[in-house]
């Protein structure tokens, strides 16, 4: 117990950084995943192929490999996820703006990987929307974009909430990998530092770090249950 109390600052800052990573990667995955889902249901074949290829690549490659690719391969061609240095946002999430690229790279890698799963979860939601809805929308003269934006996606979101929740929870746990790809100070890197370098007892540190992840995932699960219940009422 002393181990946890003595290092509470390290655990807390580790928790905050993992939280930031998850929020940013989560939002990014949802946006990218939505775009991919729209590509996959679009009426233009090349766009459909693009979406399908993306999903096939990133859903079937291990996350570690994606991390390797982003952190070690992309820099050799000059890509360091610099597009994530978003003005304004880097005032809130200060790690976004700094010179070291590993926080941005971690977001990028998690985003690339998770977006494939978000896309498929959303598409399962789209498939759950009765075909008559889209046909009716088309028959009253809505374009594809209007159809998707106002008719299909709003209904698809509801059916996709449960699988999307699982995808995001999996992403939060996957974020532990970032600590092994250059990111310092997140929960998994904190574990390494305390146990290996400072020789703290492994089990209490492990439990504290595991608790940090549970604090992120369990409330998210509860919120999703709430959303699901509300959705059931409206149906």
């Amino acid at each position: 117990m002393d181990v946890i109390l003595n290092n509470r600052d390290a655990f807390f800052s580790g928790f905050l950084l993992t939280l930031q990573l998850c929020v940013l990667a989560g939002v990014g995955s949802l946006l990218l995943g939505t775009v991919l889902a729209v590509l996959r249901i679009s009426p233009v074949p090349p766009l459909r192929w693009l979406g399908t290829s993306y999903v096939n690549v990133f859903r079937n490659v291990p996350l570690t490999v994606v991390f390797f690719f982003v952190v070690f391969a992309l820099p050799t061609i000059g890509v360091r996820a610099d597009f994530l240095q978003i003005p304004g946002l880097d005032q809130v999430f200060t790690r976004l703006g700094i010179q070291l690229p590993y926080f941005r790279m971690a977001i990028f890698a998690l985003m690339l990987y998770t977006a494939a799963f978000v896309c498929e979860a959303l598409r399962s939601g789209v498939n759950a929307v009765p075909p008559g809805q889209a046909e009716a929308a088309r028959s009253i003269g809505l374009t594809f974009t209007q159809n998707v934006r106002h008719v299909v996606l709003p209904q698809a979101w509801k059916a996709a909430v449960v699988p999307l929740g699982s995808v995001i929870i999996a992403m939060i746990k996957n974020s532990a990998l970032a600590g092994f790809f250059g990111l310092t100070g997140d929960l998994s890197a904190t574990f390494q530092q305390l146990v290996s370098a400072r020789g703290q007892a492994a089990i209490p540190v492990f439990l504290a770090v595991a608790a940090g992840f549970l604090v992120l995932t369990i409330p998210l699960g509860l919120v999703l249950d709430q959303v699901e219940r509300r959705q059931a009422v409206t149906r």
């Binding site: 010179q99 690229p101 600590g179 250059g182 310092t184 890197a189 390494q192 530092q193 290996s196 370098a197």
Partner: protein, 293 residues
């Protein structure tokens, strides 16, 4: 274990029979020509009589202990172990090598899987509670490696203004030693699982420096002298490397200490250095005084 006991008994017998005749023979400083004599019952006598010694060393440390393509370890640690074997009257093919990665070095000694550990093994008090150390035979220290054309970093103090970034390995002592020199850890420190990733990041320009023991950095510089160099200031920590022996075996420890003093005096220490790690490091090391605690 059983064979070792038998060997020890045989050694005692042999000594009892031949003790008078060889009193002033080769003694403890034999150079492998005649069989050296040791007091019966000591580890030296056991090993010498058995004609074999089990040595734990690093298999992946360029310059100190690195297994070559034929599976034979090479390096400064390996040479030191060979000299100790020679002094025990054990031929080179009597040495049984085994890998001793950092995490298990105490354990292999405690479990009697090896007789000595020569494996870039820093002497410290925590370790002395489980095993004993002969030596030190070399003082390593934490150093900083930068790109060959970078003169902006001169030592650990160069990180205090919060501008320069530095890479090390997760959970390592060097990563902890450098933290006090950093103005902002979040923005300056990068940690990977192995040092080669740090070297890659330095090559790619993602970090400005790599820090760990000079020995490891020398290995990288040896691989690519055009790309990397050490900073002007010398090492900023002391890591005395010792030879691990089983806890409480004071006679064996003091024998190894004698050997170390002897090889420094007769030049074999420098020879061993020049043939191995000395190829990467232009400055020959000052042999430290052994610590007979």
């Amino acid at each position: 274990m059983r064979t070792r006991k038998l060997a020890a008994l045989a050694a005692i017998g042999a000594l009892a029979l031949g003790a008078c005749g060889t009193e002033d023979g080769d003694g403890g400083d034999g150079n492998g020509n005649g069989a050296p004599e040791f007091e019966a019952g000591t580890t030296m006598a056991e090993l010498s009589e058995a004609g074999t010694i089990r040595v734990g060393t690093k298999y992946d440390q360029n310059g100190f202990g690195l297994v070559n393509l034929d599976g034979v370890p090479e390096g400064f640690d390996v040479e030191i172990a060979k000299i100790i074997a020679t002094e025990l009257g054990i031929p080179e093919d009597g040495i049984v090598w085994s890998e001793a990665p950092s995490a298990v070095r105490e354990e292999v000694l405690e479990r009697d899987e090896v007789d000595i550990v020569v494996a870039t093994y820093t002497i410290n008090d925590e370790r002395k509670e489980r095993i004993d150390f002969a030596g030190p035979y070399y003082i390593a220290g934490q150093h900083i490696m930068v790109a060959a054309d970078d003169d902006s970093i001169t030592g650990p103090e160069s990180f205090q203004d919060g501008e320069k970034t530095v890479c090390s390995v997760q959970g390592s002592t060097p990563s902890e030693n450098i933290r006090p020199f950093l103005a902002n850890e979040d923005e300056q420190l990068v940690l990977f699982d192995v040092y080669s990733r740090c070297a890659d990041a330095l090559t790619a320009g993602d970090v400005d420096a790599v820090t760990t023991d000079n020995v490891i950095l020398l290995g990288f510089i040896a691989d690519d002298p055009e790309a990397f160099k050490l900073v002007e200031e010398g090492t900023f920590t002391d890591e005395p490397y010792g030879i691990g022996v089983q806890k409480g075996d004071d006679e064996f420890r003091s024998f190894i200490n004698d050997v170390l003093e002897e090889i420094v005096a007769d030049g074999r220490y420098n020879e061993a250095w020049d043939a191995t790690a000395g190829q990467f490091d232009p400055n020959p090391p000052t042999p430290p005084t052994v610590d007979r605690y």
